[in-house]
């Protein structure tokens, strides 16, 4: 069939009437709207154990723990609607959309208008200044999208409990659909400053065709006296 199509296209009379978009069998599988299957304020490893903090990381986490009961805990910048950053953005109890086109796989998040564009050109990341969403680059490993992110900021934390991350973090996400249709993302946290070894967290997401990634305006919610991040799934 494909050779027939090539033969057809070899004909000068062939004219493509459709708008140009590039379809990729892999990207189509992960595209769509997704929502976490579960939400927890505490991030654990894939084994359900606490992450392996270094002494320095543990000291920071203890400091955050001491502040945890405070309403204006300073370690959590999302309280005043500043960016949650990566990887925490992927853990929030809000839907997000994956859209692929050309050299980008875009993640459009349902929390306060954030997005990130994963560069798929195959070139290494080109970080300038650290930023909360980092500088993600991606490639396909079979049917799995592998996203590697460097250039992340140390001003964000990985969960609501204040699990720290440094600007030495290399975040790797392996993103694929499971046979039952869910999306699985395996996060590898490689941050030698705060963790004694690379560790893995796993999250699953359900396809949410009935949910729209709407326009969430966090400061308007603060004005209404609502939380900056809800603590339950919709």
């Amino acid at each position: 069939m494909f050779s027939a199509a090539v033969a057809l296209l070899g004909s000068p009379e062939f004219v493509c009437a459709q708008t140009a978009t590039v379809a990729s069998a892999h990207s189509v599988a992960i595209e769509g709207t997704w929502i976490p299957e579960a939400y927890s304020e505490r991030l654990l490893t894939a084994d359900g154990t606490p992450p392996p903090l270094t002494d320095e990381g543990a000291a920071i986490y203890a400091k955050h723990a001491a502040a945890r009961g405070e309403r204006d805990r300073q370690y959590d910048r999302t309280l005043w609607c500043a960016g949650a950053g990566m990887p925490r953005m992927m853990f929030l109890p809000y839907p997000f959309e994956i859209r692929a086109d050309g050299e980008y796989v875009g993640f459009i998040y349902g929390w306060y208008r954030w997005h990130r564009m994963v560069d798929m050109t195959g070139r290494p990341a080109d970080p300038i200044l650290p930023q909360t969403m980092g500088y993600p680059v991606g490639e396909w490993d079979g049917d799995t999208l592998v996203v590697k992110t460097v250039g992340l900021s140390d001003e964000t934390v990985m969960d609501a409990m204040g699990l720290p991350q440094s600007d030495e973090l290399t975040l790797t996400e392996r993103i694929k659909t499971l046979s039952d249709g869910r999306l699985e993302v395996r996060f590898t946290i490689d941050d030698p400053r705060y963790y004694s070894r690379p560790w893995e967290a796993v999250k699953t997401y359900r396809r949410a065709s009935d949910v729209t990634v709407g326009d969430d305006v966090c400061p308007d919610r603060l004005v209404l006296g609502e939380d900056s991040i809800r603590n339950t799934l919709p």
């Binding site: 708008t19 086109d101 208008r113 500088y135 603060l222």
Partner: protein
């Protein structure tokens, strides 16, 4: 070999799935933009940042309000606090005063545009109708269609809670915008004409012109508008709407007390502001 590559490219451009190994031969976004006048995908840079609308046909009350804002800025030295500066810009800010980069993700059914600053993602529903009972919002609802090779974007359903420029040019729920995007034949430039219509504030529709330039840049910088609600910014501030008063304010520590950002509910906000040192209110 060239025949196969061209065939694959054409198949891909037509949205026909091709075997994955052959997709490695995929054209770049720049090649696709040059080959197809209706393909807008990839990253663009805003040609230049323009923060004012000039020569709008303002109704008398619109002009009077603008004079008040200019008076606050020029005569009183106040900072004008708009929807943009308070981190809740409307979609027209992406038309009138975009900054830096944007990424277009294009499908046949819809086009997604993610702007760096103002940070927002807009969705253009191709060949669609606006819903009958539209919930008013900052971004409104956008439909699109092709007029030749010009993409026409029609947007309604705004909430009237934002301004059109940095001098507080107002907008209301009757705001209706039509953007016309036309790409240059080489795919390197996008000319955009935006017509703004709002009978509550302007005597006639008017059009502004902006442009995007294709870029080889691969990563967007991020604009984290709420990262530091600096108290000093609010010292000499003219709030265009009460909604824009900050719910969180950074508090500069005195002596050994650490600096903090404090968030309060609306009813507590006045107390917070009163508790701040006089020179930081």
């Amino acid at each position: 070999m060239h025949t196969i590559r061209n065939a694959v490219m054409t198949l891909a451009l037509c949205g026909i799935a091709v075997p994955v190994p052959l997709m490695a031969q995929e054209p770049t976004a720049a090649q696709k933009r040059a080959a197809d006048p209706r393909y807008f995908g990839g990253m663009w840079q805003v040609e230049r940042f323009i923060f004012l609308i000039s020569d709008a046909p303002m109704l008398p009350h619109t002009a009077a309000q603008r004079d008040e804002f200019i008076e606050a800025m020029n005569a009183k030295g106040q900072i004008l606090y708009t929807a943009w500066t308070s981190c809740r810009p409307g979609a027209p800010s992406s038309m009138v005063m975009p900054m830096n980069s944007l990424v277009v993700l294009q499908k046949d059914a819809d086009i997604t545009v993610s702007f760096e600053e103002p940070r927002m993602t807009r969705r253009i529903h191709m060949n669609a109708q606006h819903p009958a009972n539209l919930e008013p919002s900052y971004l409104g609802h956008s439909t699109g269609y092709w007029e030749g090779d010009t993409l026409v974007i029609d947007t309604v359903g705004f909430n009237g809670q934002f301004q059109l420029d940095s001098f507080g040019m107002p907008s209301g729920p009757k705001l209706h915008t039509i953007e016309r995007l036309t790409k240059s034949p080489d795919g390197k430039r996008m000319d955009i004409k935006t017509t703004i219509e709002d009978p509550d504030y302007f005597s006639a529709p008017f059009t502004i012109e902006r442009a995007w330039i294709a870029t080889e840049q691969r990563h967007q910088a991020e604009y984290d508008c709420m990262e530091n609600p600096r108290a000093e910014e609010f010292t000499h501030t003219y709030f265009v709407k009460d909604l824009y008063r900050p719910a969180c304010v950074s508090y500069q520590g005195v002596g050994e007390a650490p600096s903090r950002i404090i968030c309060r509910k609306p009813e507590e906000q006045a107390d917070l502001l009163r508790a701040m040192p006089q020179n930081q209110r």
